[in-house]
Amino acid sequence: MAAENRHMAFICSKGNLDMAYPALIMGWAALGNGVDVTIFFTFWGLDIINKKYMGKLKLPPVGIAGMRTGMMGFPVDFGIPQIVGVLPGMTEVATAIMRKKIAELDVPPVPEFIEMLMDAGAKLYACKMTVDMMGLSQEDFPEGVEIVTAGDFIDLTDGAQIIFI
C-alpha cells in the first residue's frame, strides 16, 4: 500500500436539497473505497450541517431545466413553465417529490447521511467566516463538526483532490 492515502476534499457552497447530495454520495463512495474524505461547508452550504435546517433543505423549482412532468410520474414529459415555479407552495411540492425520489432509492435523509459519513471517518468542517457572518456557533452543528478558517482548510487538504460544489 502507498504510504500516502488518496484524499478527496469537497467544498459545499450551496444549501439547496439537490446541491447537498452530490458531496454526500461521492464522499460516501470514496470512504467505501478507502479514500480519506474532508468536507468543508461554506456560505449556503452551511445549512447542510446546521441542525436547525439540515433536515429541511428545499428544492426551489425555478431555473431548473430538468424539472419536467415525466419525473413526477406523468405519462407526458413536458417542461414546467417558470411562472408556475414561483407560485406559493411550489417549492414545497418540488421538495416533497425530490425527497420521495431519494427515499425510494433507499438513500438516507441529509441528517442521517451526515451521521453516516462521520461514523465512516469523514472530517467535516464549517467555514468560520460564514459561521460568524450568520451569527452561528458550535452548538448549531452536530458533534464532531469543527469550525475552521479558510487557511486551516487549505492546510488540512494539502495534497487532496478538491471538488467544489
Binding site: I25, W28, A29, L31, G32, N33, G34, D119
Partner: protein
C-alpha cells in the same frame, strides 16, 4: 488474472481481486482472502460476510454498505473498523461476490 490456492483447488480472481466465480467461494477461501487484506476474521466479520453472501444469493447483486449495515445490524462505525480502508470492496472480495454496483 490472479489465482488463489485453497486446499487443492485453485480459485481465479479478477484484476481487482474479486472472485471470478462466486460459487467457488468457501469459508477457507474467505480466510485467505481476508488475510490478503490484512484482516483476521472474527465472529463480527462473519456476521457481515454471511449477510453479504445471503443477500447476493437472494438478489443476484452485492449489497451496498448501507444495505449491509441495516441488514446485518452492524453499525457504520463498526463496519469501517472491521474492514478498514474501503469496506465496500473488502466485504465483497472476502465474501467472494462481485463489486457492489449501488452508490449508497
Amino acid at each position: 488474472m490472479i489465482t488463489l490456492k485453497v486446499n487443492d483447488r485453485v480459485l481465479t480472481l479478477d484484476e481487482e481481486g474479486f472472485l471470478v466465480n462466486p460459487a467457488d467461494w468457501s469459508e477457507e477461501a474467505a480466510h485467505l482472502l481476508a488475510k490478503s487484506e490484512g484482516i483476521e476474521l472474527t465472529e463480527r466479520h462473519w456476521k457481515v460476510i454471511r449477510f453479504a453472501r445471503e443477500y447476493y444469493e437472494t438478489n443476484g447483486a452485492s449489497p451496498t454498505l448501507r444495505q449491509i449495515s441495516k441488514g446485518a445490524g452492524v453499525p457504520t462505525k463498526e463496519l469501517f473498523s472491521l474492514f478498514p480502508k474501503g469496506p465496500a470492496k473488502k466485504v465483497a472480495r472476502i465474501a467472494g461476490i462481485p463489486k457492489p454496483a449501488g452508490c449508497v
